[in-house]
Amino acid sequence: MSAIENKSENRSTENAGEGVSEDTRDDKGLGLGVIFFLVAFVVCFLSGTFLFPKLLYSKKEQPFNFDHALHTSEAGDCEACHYYREDGTYSGNPKLASCLDCHSEEPLGETEDEAIFVEEYVVKGKEIPWLVYSRQPDCVFFSHAAHTIKAKMDCVECHGHIGESTVSRPYEENRLTGYSRDIWGKNIFGIKKNSWDRMKMDDCAECHKERTGHQGYCFQCHK
């Protein structure tokens, strides 16, 4: 490569004078360049932070509004509806049959939501297609019993204060993955303040590491 190196060296010495004049031009250009840099930086950073999540997630409304606060005051704690089956598995969202333990074709209230519930679901005998905020990917096995019974954790630790809510917030679906926004968390940077702000694997591992001394093995949560 030395031949080329020699050639290059020759040329750079030839052009030495030109280089100086270029430098003087650079100053002005650089100033403008910095402004452009800053503008582009700010615009891109802001759109990446604020516009991007809007594009990434689509908002979906629940079939009708569900008042958790009202239900907990009437029916009792979370387990009244989100109970364990006899075999220890967790029942998840109640089926229509559970609702009918209290509800019937006679509306229990005068809200529009109660009307939808009765007309669309109770009368037609159709299950309510709730959109589950905390639904984990299909490959995940999650034992509620291990957490709330064995480890005596409170529902709030992972689910936050949803039990006190009076309105169902819109369900945000990730357009790419199809999963709920609650998994990554509301904060697009992935920063969490509360234990229930995020539900990703790293969050599980972090808590496990802290409380059991080990982040856990694959099969503990994957199937």
Partner: protein, 288 residues
């Protein structure tokens, strides 16, 4: 709170080859339990996914001295050299799609993490790992029988026997609900074990002296003086493991009264078997 992983299990099985009839119930039970797909031609056994495969071994003698034995082969759930969890397959996976659960001794396989490099298959001398060469497809409607407890796999990933880990999970769910510390021996049994009409498979926790499998195998937890890589060698002279000498430290043991069967479990140089065959674990236990 640091209690979850306090108790270490070491799940394993012993298969009585004298009882095994080669009926194939274990294979089908496994396939039905674990959503194993099937395709039009499954006669090429080198691309046919059977987590549990039943091999047919012969003693190589001429008619009418020929003898045959059937050997069911699930994943051997190797605990690796010295029993430290470095199974041949686990340590080679570049993407951490498989690990060795030190709480159970079970080697996992995470299909969504696997990207199909097949290095683990090359590393496994038991051919216990299978690759999805084709899209798994079920005839119309048949996907209705798929179980939600085991993820169906997609094309291009490796799968293998999990010792029906989901059954362990379900057993634990019940124990949690009933606020029991431990699950009972019979609460967690693999699908092949419960299916075997001959009762040839015994499954349980090799760390629990009360479990039947431990009583039969009598594993010696000290390293084998002849080969320090080997731990958990059986003290039962009728029990052997496949390729034990490689130091894979499998947790699937085999039992046979027939010497030629026990010899077929491993490789021996000429004349070596005679010197090695009576060597069983550190402490010899007299056996009726």
């Amino acid at each position: 709170m640091k209690q979850e992983n306090k108790k270490e299990h070491k799940f394993g099985m012993v298969i009585d080859l004298d009882k095994c009839t080669g009926c194939g119930s274990c294979m089908v039970s496994c396939m039905a339990e674990n959503n194993v797909p099937f395709k039009e031609d499954e006669s090429n056994k080198k691309d046919s996914i059977t987590w549990m495969r039943v091999y047919k071994l012969t003693n190589g003698k001429d008619f009418p001295e020929t003898e045959v034995v059937y050997m069911p082969r699930p994943c051997q759930h190797c605990s690796g050299k010295g029993g430290h969890g470095h199974s041949p397959c686990v340590s080679v996976c570049p993407a951490t799609a498989t690990d060795y659960g030190k709480d159970t001794g079970i080697v996992s396989q995470i299909y969504t993490r696997c990207f199909g490099c097949r290095y683990c298959m090359g590393a496994c001398p038991y051919h216990a790992r299978y690759f999805n060469w084709w899209d798994p497809k079920w005839p119309e409607g048949m996907e209705n029988y798929l179980s939600p407890n085991v993820s169906p796999r997609m094309r291009g990933v490796v799968e293998k026997c999990s010792f029906c880990y989901h059954r362990y999970q379900l057993a634990r769910e019940k124990a949690y609900l009933e606020e029991r510390e431990e699950i009972e021996e019979m609460e967690y049994q693999t699908a092949c074990t419960t299916a075997c009409p001959a009762g040839a498979i015994v499954f349980g926790d090799l760390n629990n002296p009360e479990h039947e499998v431990t009583k039969i195998v009598k594993p010696d937890d000290h390293p084998d003086p002849r080969n320090p890589d080997v731990v958990g060698k059986s003290r039962n002279p009728k029990v052997f493991r496949l390729l034990e000498r490689l130091g894979t430290n499998t947790k699937v043991y085999y039992l046979s009264e027939r010497e030629w069967v026990r010899k077929a479990g491993d490789n021996y140089t000429e004349g070596e078997w005679e010197t090695i065959k009576n060597h069983h674990g550190k402490t010899q236990i007299s056996h009726g």
